[in-house]
Symmetry: C2
Subunit: 235 residues, 2 copies
DNA sequence: GAATATCTTTGACTTAAGTCAACAAGCCTG
DNA sequence: CAGGCTTGTTGACTTAAGTCAAAGATATTC
């Protein structure tokens, strides 16, 4: 939480109500939330928290994106999650009552909403609907993690990449054309591999006529084949 | 949920209060829980649920153990979690409001407590303390999954095995001697590898004087070296 | 307790993916 | 816009770990 600046911000309530975490929470409680929230800014590449830091609160992303990742002793990283505006991170430490299990770094200049643990837990204690929202959110994340474990252990890199491309396709819903929202190095880290391997596999997919590449713009040529690859996990 | 028999069981309340999920929940609410609970028995190898099944409730393990796992199209499995007595599984589907994301099979003859979704959600809605317990439990699991992803992508099999042996050592707290609670095939699946590889690595660790093996009984000879291996992740 | 099924180990082989190194492109930043 | 830093690509090489196959060792079950 270094290099952050606290902002004064007013129409938070509305925004909070639009996040998936707090969707459906009544106005009264939203006010409570906004009362304990702090808006902070942080720059691209700024460290938000590190593994082992005391988890005295969690964050919502207002603007920008954040990567949450594990780091091996020799510096290789595995991205667990890329947090987009409206999403949250760090809740785990709040409810497990422990330190953060991973690192968080801003991918871009960000504006974050910080919710301090004690205050937040107090609010949740008085509001079961809020608690149910949180349970749903954590469950959703657990489900994603399970998929990730599945992919890492059961699928080869081409399979994981294919699955990711299909996911982006759905998310962006822009014809056959899609944009890899991350640098290829970061994407490699998200897929649990290294840039060299990713690069080779992308060219292979292009050579074999599955996709066509222009920088970070990918055109899906054979969605069918891509889907098979994602399904069976092997080339 | 095939091949299960519903039992009538009375002193459930006490037992529920002793599970980690419901520890600290007041008697009143425990009665509520026991009111909606169904005790079921299932035999070793019985399928409890499969990926995609509608998640209309979740389970606590009363006796026996259950494995939760993902399955690749060609039948390879990755164990996500081995559930021991007093622990729960399947909650994710309840709160995400979706189908089960994984398979669950009894490792031994089991006695399970089933909590139907609708009734359970109703109870949680009226009891924030219960909700906080659940949030803590899910957070805990999320943390474990994060560790697992970390291990799968950042550590080689010897490192994962070493970490597991150290974990067992702590859990069993029985001098240097420990018991691998799973068949080696199952352990391989938990570590994200295959029996052949596990077998080779176990002999290697023995040959190099890290451990000594008698069937499923392992004696840790050089805990220091094992710890290094688990830390750096490479041989 | 014999018969069968399941688990474990070992060997020879293949292969996906990591490492190291060099170079080419971008892209900030001054 | 020029230099330097980060990012991406390609090639040659190494290696961890998977596959296939066969034999031994345990368990289960009838």
């Amino acid at each position: 939480m270094v290099n952050m600046v606290v902002d004064k911000d007013s129409p938070l309530v509305e925004w909070l109500g639009a996040t998936s975490l707090f969707a459906g929470v009544e106005g009264e409680h939203l006010w409570g939330l906004s009362g304990i929230a702090m808006v902070v800014s942080c720059k691209r590449r700024a460290n938000i928290f590190s593994e082992g830091d005391p988890g005295n609160g969690f964050y919502l992303v207002k603007e920008g994106r954040v990567k949450v990742f594990m780091l091996s002793p020799d510096g290789k990283e595995q991205i667990l999650h890329v947090i987009e505006p409206g999403e949250s991170f760090g809740e785990v430490a709040v409810f497990a009552g422990q330190s953060f299990p991973a690192h968080a770094v801003a991918l871009e200049n960000c504006r974050l909403v910080f919710l301090p643990r004690e205050d937040f837990v107090a609010l949740v204690s008085g509001n079961p609907a809020l608690a149910l929202n949180l349970l749903a959110a954590l469950s959703q994340r657990l489900r994603q993690f399970a998929k990730m474990i599945d992919a890492l252990s059961l699928k080869e890199v081409p399979g994981r990449l294919a699955a990711h491309l299909l996911y982006l396709g759905e998310k962006q819903a822009a014809g056959n054309r899609l944009h890899l929202e991350l640098s290829k190095t970061q994407l490699a880290s998200l897929l649990g591999t290294i840039p060299e391997t990713l690069s080779r596999i992308l060219s292979r997919l292009q050579r074999d006529g599955f996709i066509s590449i222009e920088g970070a713009e990918i055109t899906v040529i054979d969605q069918q084949k891509l889907a098979e690859l994602a399904e069976i996990g092997k080339f």
